[in-house]
């Protein structure tokens, strides 16, 4: 955990303490802080915006109620992502949905500052993620998207570290075999410039 992560976790813990005392401003701060990453994380399970919003609210509703019970065994972000993961699976089970991408690509995409690059990257990623199972997508999101360690991912998904390692390995192998060769070398090289 680097210094920025430690600072972020310290800040999150303070917010939880305030929430435990009934401070709604702290809840609103935490909500906005986590909304983006929860949206992206849950979009690996479902493409339905209404379900994603419902799961985020379920997740932060639980965080609001259980803030005083947080023991600090893990980072706050690990705790919250774990709640979101379980809420997400539960919501999908209740609807009888499979946690897969559907073909209905939303028309109201979020505008980007670099629409061409983003679209290319999204298309490239979509080709790979389509071949993964839901659990493999979640592992890839947590490791590459959020930046969690293997131990964190195991805590979030409620499984052994070995299981996470296996899912990550298979996901990487699939992506390597499926994803086209680096047509976007220019982007990668650009990002590698210090």
């Amino acid at each position: 955990m680097n210094e920025a992560d430690i600072d972020a976790d310290t800040n999150d813990r303070m917010l939880l303490q305030r929430m435990a005392a009934g401070d709604r401003v702290a809840l609103a701060t935490l909500y906005h802080s986590y909304h983006g990453r929860l949206c992206r994380f849950l979009s690996r399970l479902t493409r339905r915006a209404d379900v994603i919003e419902e799961v985020i609210n379920d997740c932060l509703w639980i965080a609001w109620q259980k803030a005083g019970d947080f023991r600090g065994d893990s980072r706050v972000s690990t705790w919250i992502m774990g709640i979101a993961y379980r809420c997400g699976l539960k919501a999908l089970r209740q609807r009888g949905d499979e946690p897969v991408e559907d073909d209905n690509i939303p028309e109201d995409r979020i505008p980007s500052t670099h629409p061409d690059e983003d679209r290319e990257l999204r298309d490239w990623l979509a080709k790979g993620l389509d071949r993964l199972t839901a659990d493999q997508r979640v592992v890839i999101e947590l490791v590459y998207g959020v930046g969690h360690t293997l131990e964190d991912v195991a805590t979030i998904m409620g499984c052994p570290v070995g299981t996470v390692k296996a899912r990550l390995f298979h996901a990487r192998v699939k992506l390597r075999n499926v994803l086209p060769a680096l047509a976007g070398d220019s982007i990668t090289l650009k990002e590698n410039v210090p």
Binding site: Y31, I56, N57, P106, W124, I140, Y144, L175, L179, T188
Partner: protein, 211 residues
Amino acid sequence: MTFPMDTSQDCLRAWEAMPWVLQESAAPEQSEWLKGHLAHCESCRAEFNQQNRLRLAMSLPTDVRVDAHAGLQHLMNRIDASEHDATPYRMRAGNWLARGLVAAVLIQAIGIGALGAKLYSSGERPVYHTLSQPAAPVGAGAIRVVPDANMTLTDWDALLHTLHLQVVAGPNDVGAYTVALVNNPSNTEQTVQQLRATRGIRLAEPIASTP
């Protein structure tokens, strides 16, 4: 499990290290080692570039639009609703408890008041006598005397004075007095004989001390 690259142990090690170097959670030595390996391994370098591209793609915001402000408002409404539901319940529970306590106190107060009023109005000594209650003390040499109803108070006083007697109790319901010798209690028997011989005394007898 088949490794995707037909390479050496170093390439296996590089494959393992890539995600953690990319997310900057790897140890500095591991990062340095990978950097050195990539410098001369084209295959791993290509894989690392692809991994980096994957990280960039994964870090893009989701293209599913979810309104954070509306979502937060829904959450706040949910909290309001739950607190609203919980509060009347607590109030109802509190009301029932308070009402029960008040009723119990009132019943007790009424009962205590009624008992007090009954005791106050009766005002009589109990007619019964318990074994634990001490008997009225009767001095040694006490004598029970029943004077005639026609005996005057003057004659009665004179008699008491003559025989050195003092009334210690009575008269009771049948007109009996308890008298005792003032100076010499040992002369009880003689005094009894004198009382019996006195005109106007219907009964005179020594009172045996209580066992």
